[in-house]
């Protein structure tokens, strides 16, 4: 049995499901773009990171990242040239979310939609909240500057199964 793939960390999900070519009858099979491939395009071409930086952000090795990026470009080229629909779907990914602590009800909650600001506690609705920082994790983390934000590499070697069928 081949070795299992590492889980790839995704920072931002696409806000839509895919692309459709204009003025063409949609009769061809769509190009399925995995979320990690979308993320590699976002990091390399949109955020202008180097492949080394991007691989650290995604929590995979540099050669693996290059392979993901290569597949992503080939898929985009195929969709462009053949006029196929592009669908963002699947992939062996996990999402990193920040944890917050509510001082009023003493609960911890995570925040999934990063584009929105955390204003109130998810449980009691109080605005007396603060970001929760795991001090132990922070010490041995390796930091990369990306999009004017500092992200920590804390989950470099995560392994797991794909959960596409849930």
């Amino acid at each position: 049995m081949p070795r299992q793939k590492l889980m790839r960390k995704i920072d931002k999900l696409p806000t839509f499901k895919g692309f459709k070519p204009m003025g063409k009858i949609d009769d061809m099979a769509p190009v399925v773009m995995n979320l990690e491939e979308y993320e590699s395009i976002r990091l390399s071409d949109y955020a202008n990171l180097s492949q080394v930086e991007a691989s650290i952000v995604m929590g995979v090795s540099r050669p693996t990242y290059t392979r993901i990026y290569d597949i992503a470009r080939k898929k985009i080229a195929q969709a462009f040239v053949e006029g196929r629909t592009v669908v963002f779907e699947g992939g062996k990914v996990y999402f990193d979310s920040d944890w917050y602590h509510c001082n009023s009800c003493d609960c911890y909650f995570d925040h999934l939609r990063k584009e929105l600001l955390v204003e109130k506690c998810a449980l009691c609705g109080s605005s007396n909240i603060e970001q929760f920082v795991d001090t132990k994790k922070e010490e041995d983390s390796f930091e990369v500057v990306c999009e004017m934000r500092v992200r920590s590499r804390t989950a470099g070697c995560r392994r797991g199964n794909t959960f596409n069928n849930i």
């Binding site: 999402f95 003493d106 609960c107 909650f109 109130k120 998810a122 449980l123 797991g160 959960f163």
Partner: protein, 107 residues
């Protein structure tokens, strides 16, 4: 919006279960209709994989938030992938009714 709460018993006066995968009951609370449903956890006695199996139970009911004492490492990644928010209330003596009351006031 539906919220799942882990519970140690099948009444509103039961305490929140500290474990997620091996909790005794799941409580499904609907914030719109304010309906409450209790579901015994079938994975309670499993040797392995109780967490992911419980995630499947919870996710199949279209839940947007999950309240429990703690979550395992496997579970966290799947919930992130499914875009379900996790709320931890560690070592609390909150009853299910208290949690529901908090959620009610929140909305």
């Amino acid at each position: 919006m539906r919220v799942a709460i882990t519970s140690t018993g099948n009444s509103l006066e039961s305490k929140v279960d500290n474990r997620f995968g091996r909790c005794s009951y799941f409580v499904f609370y609907d914030t719109e209709s304010e309906s409450v449903e209790f579901l015994p956890n079938a994975n309670r006695e499993s040797v392995e994989g109780a967490g992911p199996a419980s995630v499947q139970t919870v996710a199949s009911r279209d839940v947007r938030k999950v309240v429990s004492g703690e979550f395992g490492a496997k579970v966290k990644a799947i919930f992130d992938q499914l875009q379900i928010q996790l709320i931890m209330v560690p070592d609390s003596n909150h009853t299910v009714a208290q949690i529901i009351e908090m959620l009610k006031n929140n909305n």
